[in-house]
């Protein structure tokens, strides 16, 4: 008669699993943060590099290639433009400044400055800007006229209310400039396109013909799409039409020179030190109030910060006050979530509950408040992105990324690591809350 073999019971060392989990998470964090500070060459020839993305003081690090600074937070380039004509009125200079600012903003350069000084216009651009290319756009007077083949002007750029560009066909290289006219322009264009059907109408910029499309049929709807442009040319013309014409032509005075950051004092790295000091203060607060739990929370906040900078660099957000505000606003939500959660744990622990149970209950009650805050703000950010209202959309993109990271980190990762910490170090209440009743977890 055979005996039934006795099955071996495998006991799982929960503490060992917790230790391994924490060590792996810590190792991944250290590697990620180190890469964020130093970057890495991906091949021997140096053709592919992972650029560092965490802002660090000093000129030794290349993070400014990943997070390109604007003129607000880093040195810029000062270009001086002066009117070609000798006598200009102050109000015309102010008008010119506004037109230039619109052009720069339309090109996506929000971190710039245009000032009127001593009958000249001082333009501050980020160091990364192609100053020569932008100079051509800024100095162009931008007077658009629509003319007949004989050169008779029947309409001007002032009659254009909207200007955009898009693909004219499937080739991907033929870009069309699309224009919408006001009432006067619509009527004038309808009349001339009917009169000149089968001939062509010229579009001129500052007297020079830029395109002469032929008129197949009368255009009476008040909108027209003119193909035959390159992407750069279409974009330039659209920007110039939207900004309006300068009251006078401009020319550059002297060479462009480096200038200090628009928003910072002389020490441009002071901001990095100041933000690091704030994070240190927040860390001290969490450590003193919530001890071991606070340490894990600080760790998670650091991970969120590093990931936020990483994704901001990935989407080309740039190192600007806007990007930093979005990142730290999302971090503030996570700080709120963490403090809210730990207050719940502390209060439950003071009433005699075990830390593990207090953690579970805190996520189930107070945790839902922070979930609602994350969800509500994320919904708002998505709506702002969809509305596509210029600078609000740029902010909302980085903010939404930060919120999403915060939500995942604070509600999944933090919970996991706190549980593992309790398994490894025990559930003694004093380890997770200051001045709490001591309760040993069985």
């Amino acid at each position: 008669m055979t005996k039934k073999p006795q099955s071996k019971k495998v006991t799982v060392n929960r503490k060992a699993i917790a230790a391994v989990t924490l060590v792996i998470a810590l190792a991944l964090t250290v590697v990620f943060v180190t890469l964020g500070v130093t970057g890495r060459k991906m091949d021997a020839q140096g053709l592919y590099n992972l650029l560092p993305w965490l802002p660090t003081p000093g000129e030794n690090y290349n993070w400014r290639q990943a997070l390109v600074p604007g003129a607000g937070l880093d040195e810029g380039v000062l270009t001086t433009l002066k009117p070609v004509s000798e006598e200009v009125k102050e109000e015309d200079l102010q008008t010119a400044a506004k037109v230039l600012m619109k052009r720069l903003s339309d090109f996506g350069w929000s971190d710039t400055a245009v000032e009127v000084k001593d009958n000249q216009l001082l333009i501050t651009l980020p160091k990364s800007a192609d100053v020569n290319y932008l100079k051509n756009i800024l100095t162009a007077k931008g007077e658009f006229t629509f003319t007949t083949p004989e050169g008779e002007v029947f309409m001007t750029g002032e009659n254009v209310t909207q200007a955009g560009f898009g693909y004219a066909d499937q080739s991907g290289t033929n870009i069309a400039l699309s224009l919408m006219f006001d009432g006067t322009g619509k009527e004038a264009f309808a009349t001339k396109s009917t009169e000149l059907s089968g001939q062509s109408i010229s579009l001129r910029r500052d007297g020079v013909v830029i395109t002469s499309p032929s008129i197949g049929e009368p255009i009476t709807q008040g909108t027209v799409s003119i193909p035959g442009f390159t992407l750069d040319a279409a974009r330039e013309n659209a920007v110039l039409l939207r900004s309006g014409a300068l009251p006078f032509a401009l020319t550059q005075e002297g060479e462009s020179v480096p200038t200090k950051a628009l928003l910072l004092n002389d020490q441009k790295d002071l901001l990095i030190y100041a933000l690091a000091a704030v994070l240190a203060l927040i860390a001290v607060y969490l450590l003193v109030r919530f001890r071991l739990g606070g340490l894990v929370a600080v760790w998670m906040l650091l991970v969120q910060l590093a990931l936020s900078y990483f994704f901001a660099a990935l989407i080309g957000a740039g190192y600007t006050v806007l990007t930093l505000s979005a990142i730290y606003a999302a971090l503030l939500v996570s700080f709120f979530a963490v403090v809210n959660l730990f207050i719940g744990i502390r209060d439950d622990a003071r009433q005699g509950r075990s830390v593990r149970q207090a953690l579970k209950d805190s996520y189930a009650t107070r945790g839902h408040a922070s979930l609602d805050v994350y969800a509500g703000l994320l919904l708002l950010a998505v709506v702002f992105i969809m509305m596509d209202q210029g600078i609000i959309r740029i902010f909302a993109e980085v903010f939404a990324l930060g919120l999403l990271l915060g939500l995942i980190i604070m509600h999944l990762l933090l919970r996991l690591l706190l549980n593992e910490t309790i398994h490894l170090f025990g559930g003694k209440t004093g380890l997770y809350a200051a001045n709490a009743t001591q309760k040993r977890e069985d």
């Binding site: 600012m101 903003s105 002071l270 806007l322 930093l324 207050i343 509500g376 509305m387 740029i394």
Partner: protein, 211 residues
């Protein structure tokens, strides 16, 4: 709808500040910008963004809580955004605002949501009472506000420290650039402490009286 007198007085004060800033702006004295940024300032996108924020907050509040919660959250958003913009218009005379104004004004929604939503949640729980007898609406609103005061103070302090980091490292123009963040925080603190708990209480009481 009967609201507590102090809440009404605070609301009236906020409205006066908003109207004062509007008058200043219309006569050309408010909303001073640095570096030519006024050329990039478009008010219609900002108006649409504020309206969208109020609308989304109302719908979110209704789905998550109740009509009283929805109106409270929407009122908080509208009050905070308008008061923040008004304070920027006034204080900006000293420092000069930046082209970031519309975006950073929206950032103030962080404080509005972080201070208002937990209070609404806790007030609802206190009214229901759980195993013990629930509180009256006014009492629940006040108790909820008091319970969350330490959390609000800590979060507000952290926000102020972050702002201080920007201001210490920047020049006068940096103050103008981050001003919307400060005014957003201030508006949220004022509304969450003095106005919105009592809007919720008044609305919830009205609902109860109708039943």
């Amino acid at each position: 709808m009967r609201m507590q007198k102090s809440a009404l007085n605070t609301l009236i004060l906020s409205i006066l500040i908003i109207l004062g800033a509007l008058v200043l702006t219309l006569v050309g004295q408010g909303m001073r910008f640095s570096f030519g940024a006024e050329a990039t300032m478009q008010y219609m996108p900002l108006v649409w963004a504020i309206l969208a924020a109020v609308g989304v907050s109302f719908v979110f509040g209704w789905v998550r809580y109740s009509l009283a919660g929805a109106i409270t959250l929407a009122a908080a958003v509208l009050h905070d955004q308008l008061l923040s913009l008004a304070l920027c218009a006034i204080i900006g005379l000293a420092f000069g605002l930046s082209s970031y104004l519309p975006a950073l004004l929206m950032a103030g929604l962080v404080a509005t949501y972080a201070f208002t939503i937990p209070q609404i949640r806790t007030a609802r729980v206190l009214v229901r009472g759980g195993s013990s007898r629930g509180l009256a609406r006014d009492e629940a609103a006040s108790e909820s506000r008091n319970q969350h005061r330490p959390l609000k103070m800590v979060v507000a302090l952290a926000a102020l420290l972050i702002l201080a980091a920007f201001i210490i490292s920047g020049n006068k123009h940096m103050i103008g650039a981050v001003l919307p963040l400060f005014t957003g925080l201030l508006s949220a603190v004022v509304s969450s402490c003095l106005i919105t708990p009592f809007i919720w209480a008044a609305l919830a009481t009205r609902k109860m009286n109708k039943k």
